[in-house]
Symmetry: D2
Subunit: 296 residues, 4 copies
């Protein structure tokens, strides 16, 4: 495969590692960052730095964006000298920020209107995964673009170990993520319910958790949250990683979706009531392991 050239916008903690991974695997990379000084380490590795997102899009057929938040995503894409101003037939843009559905839809419409292709491609994983090319990408949008960038040696294949195309619309990734969130919310509420019952039954919670971790159900998130629950008689021990009110908000969104689709979701509804009870007891901003407190 001939050397390819891709654009990369946004060189924060994650973006820097992603662009570096591309360079180290032999891809030619053209970068841009709001604060230009962040480009230097990549230029040292062989990247070319340009002055605006539009110049990057002009120079590359495929450009990636990894911005801090929806507002930044929107500015880089729709602002002056932004992606959309240079996009046209033959150009492609992938946004990897975890943007909300509404912002995603606006970007998809604006880029699509120029004749360019768009893919919402939010990423899972941390900077170590980025450095190792082991990110996970959940993509929604143009299928041909997805196929091209995930082909062996292409940019998404180089940066990640898993790629899913979950539909032609930019809302697909948000829905897919919601499915994982209701699983997580229900699993962890069930864990809290069981540990509370075990405790009441005179069993040792740490022993039950150890048996669980030795079983075919063992998984890292349950292990971590179970430990927090056992440690957490004291509210201060629920270190806020993902907060109760956020988990409950995701369950509410899932229940709203279920209602809209005429699909009953009684377990998610029962789990939601427990996260609401945890909020009632003052745990809204504690880690969602604090759902355990709904059983006290």
């Amino acid at each position: 495969m001939a050397t390819q050239r891709v654009g990369f916008l946004g060189l924060g903690v994650m973006g820097k590692q992603m662009a570096q991974r591309l360079l180290k695997q032999g891809t030619e990379v053209v970068v841009w960052n709001r604060s230009a000084d962040k480009c230097a380490p990549l230029v040292a590795l062989g990247a070319t730095a340009l002055a605006t997102p539009a110049e990057v899009v002009d120079a590359c057929s495929v450009t990636h964006g990894m911005l801090a938040d929806p507002k930044a995503s929107e500015a880089v894409c729709l602002g002056a000298d932004g992606v959309a101003s240079a996009a046209k037939v033959g150009k492609s843009y992938l946004d990897h920020s975890t943007i909300d559905e509404a912002t995603g839809a606006r970007l998809a419409a604006a880029v699509g209107a120029t004749g360019a292709r768009f893919l919402a491609a939010p990423v899972s994983g941390g900077w170590r995964d980025a450095a190792a090319g082991e990110l996970l990408f959940v993509c929604g949008g143009d299928r041909t673009l997805f196929d091209e960038v995930t082909a062996p040696g292409a940019s998404l294949a180089v940066m990640g170990s898993k790629h899913w195309h979950v539909g032609e619309s930019s809302e697909g990734p948000a829905r897919a993520k919601l499915m994982l969130q209701i699983m997580m919310g229900t699993y962890i509420a069930a864990l809290g319910e069981t540990l509370a019952l075990a405790d009441k039954a005179g069993l040792d919670q740490a022993q039950i958790m150890d048996m669980f971790d030795s079983s075919a159900m063992a998984n890292p998130i349950s292990k971590a949250k179970g430990q927090l629950m056992i440690d957490g008689d004291d509210r201060r021990n629920y270190a806020p990683n993902f907060q109760v009110y956020l988990q409950q908000k995701d369950l509410r969104l899932a229940l709203q979706l279920a209602d809209d689709l005429a699909q009953p979701a009684p377990l998610a509804a029962a789990a939601n009531a427990q996260y609401v009870a945890a909020r009632k007891r003052g745990h809204a901003h504690d880690d969602f392991a604090a759902v355990r407190a709904a059983y006290d």
Copy 2:
């Protein structure tokens, strides 16, 4: 540590591997089996075979039993020339069969009445784990006996990788197992609920399952059951491993326990209703992955 000698009663698929593991790790083993011919392979490895359970108990300070079912456990322990007939102060007996609470209580009482020590020690794992000495033991009964047999080099330490002492009573292991069962029942019902919702939301169930398997929630049982659910439009595909009606029976026992202890268990109650619904739809004797059908 000096060579120790232990008794082993019951040489079925599991018992044979457990006794063999003891022999291969340098323990002197005295065996008995209802059909005497099953002793031959172990004698070939150095074991001594005796004619009755009583003779084995007489010859060893610690004896293990691994019988097929509660009836066999009871016969070997309480029958003519059984364990109890030779038990006395200084002797110890461990029953590894998954016996029910009532049978366990009868054995504990009968052995205890002789002055001997008793441990209910049901086992998790298959014959491969037995051969590798990687079984899991959940034990209830005499604590000093537990400590002795799990000391480095002692019989339970040689046969298993994990040992938990969950109380002085033979009912402890049953309660602990119930805790794992309600976790399993609720997890798998939540999985069915989510996959049904994903399907209705126009998402690809296999993709959602693949994302799940790539997440921090990934675990072997959810992976296996999720696959069955996706394959299982046709009832015949739900291979009966652990059946719907058995999973529902365990949830009912857990709910009864929760009621008795004045401890609410709303998620287990909601999950139970879904297994009942699956029974209503004709899936009582399918694998419990068929809880998915409650959402059709």
Copy 3:
């Protein structure tokens, strides 16, 4: 209709009124009571008093029993000189005590074995209803007997305003009563949930209750329990009429029945969890309106 003669065993608060009602409506009544002095007021009204249940059965083709509890019911029917000792083809016995299923089954079997007919006929209503002939009878057992005693002018018609035959077995009335109990348990839990929500929403609970009482949902039990809930910030105000733990026990029985029949009952299961939560918070022996406390 020619004057009929019926036997009546047990002249407590209820039995006295029932027998009196029969006498005042022109029925010839033969009575017996463990303490013979309680017969006097009825003899003054024209009744004949005899010395044993057996003598009463001997003297009458149809005999009614209204005893204090299952133990008394059993003694009067199965004891020395009891109903069963005189029963034979051509005789009939109705037990109006709220006896449990097991006792009912024993009485039905013993009376039936003599060739006599039996009807379990537990009663709803108080002594004022008894005096006015407005009791409610839920009957299980011999259908021909039911038809005869509920014919115009016959004993059950004279004593009650409603009679239901719910099956040939003495367990029918118990099951029917369970249906009313789960309705009651779920209605009152829903009332508590709504009043708690109204309160949190800044609405006046008494106003909401007043609107409810002015609506097509208005009913005496909800009105009474709603009032208790509004008054009951202080636990002492929950006067024990029907206690939390008894209501929860009935819900558990109903859920057990639902499980046995493979019929999901998710609302009853959710309501049960709230009564369990009320027990957890120390309200086991308060009036079941205290389910409201599960929402605090």
Copy 4:
């Protein structure tokens, strides 16, 4: 009390009866209707008819509006020659239409901005109740206005038998109504669950319903819906009075409110799942008694 004069806008089926009631009880009434011919019968009873809402407001200190829908309410209040154009300090306007929260808020703001007083006062009851002066009014808005119009002999006292002031805001009545709706939704779902269980238990549903109707739980709406459920094996028998999807929408609104207030509502959540299941089975537009079908 001196004769008072009130304005009345909107003479449809309900408005005509309400205005007539005022006239017959000795109130002087000034009327307006979009189609002027509907004023004639009231003029025959002594009313004065004027040409625009503004003229009516100008002529009376208190004016009532009973319009067909939010759009009509808005036109009559905010349109040319509407209520707001003549409103000023010293004037008062009551809207009795069941308007949505948003429309109510707009009217309250527009009328309030003129210095006039406003009361959202939706009505319960039919035209017969209107003729008898037995309507129910749930009011939100100016408290002094509420006190004046509900004083003995004043307009709201003449037209209705019950009046509740549920807060200073026009959203109060909507929230209060939601409380009654979740009660109704949960009660009727519980009824369906119980009848389905009774049927499965071999009991006669009509008998159970008859016992219910003879109990302290008896209420008109449960009686009517229970009858529909028993008759309704055939979907056509679920006459659409209040439809499944509307009941479910109200439950969803209530659950959203409960989530917002951090107040768990597990029974409403379980009931909601059953209405969703009824929609899934094709009953969205049948009477909400069709929630019974969720249990088939």
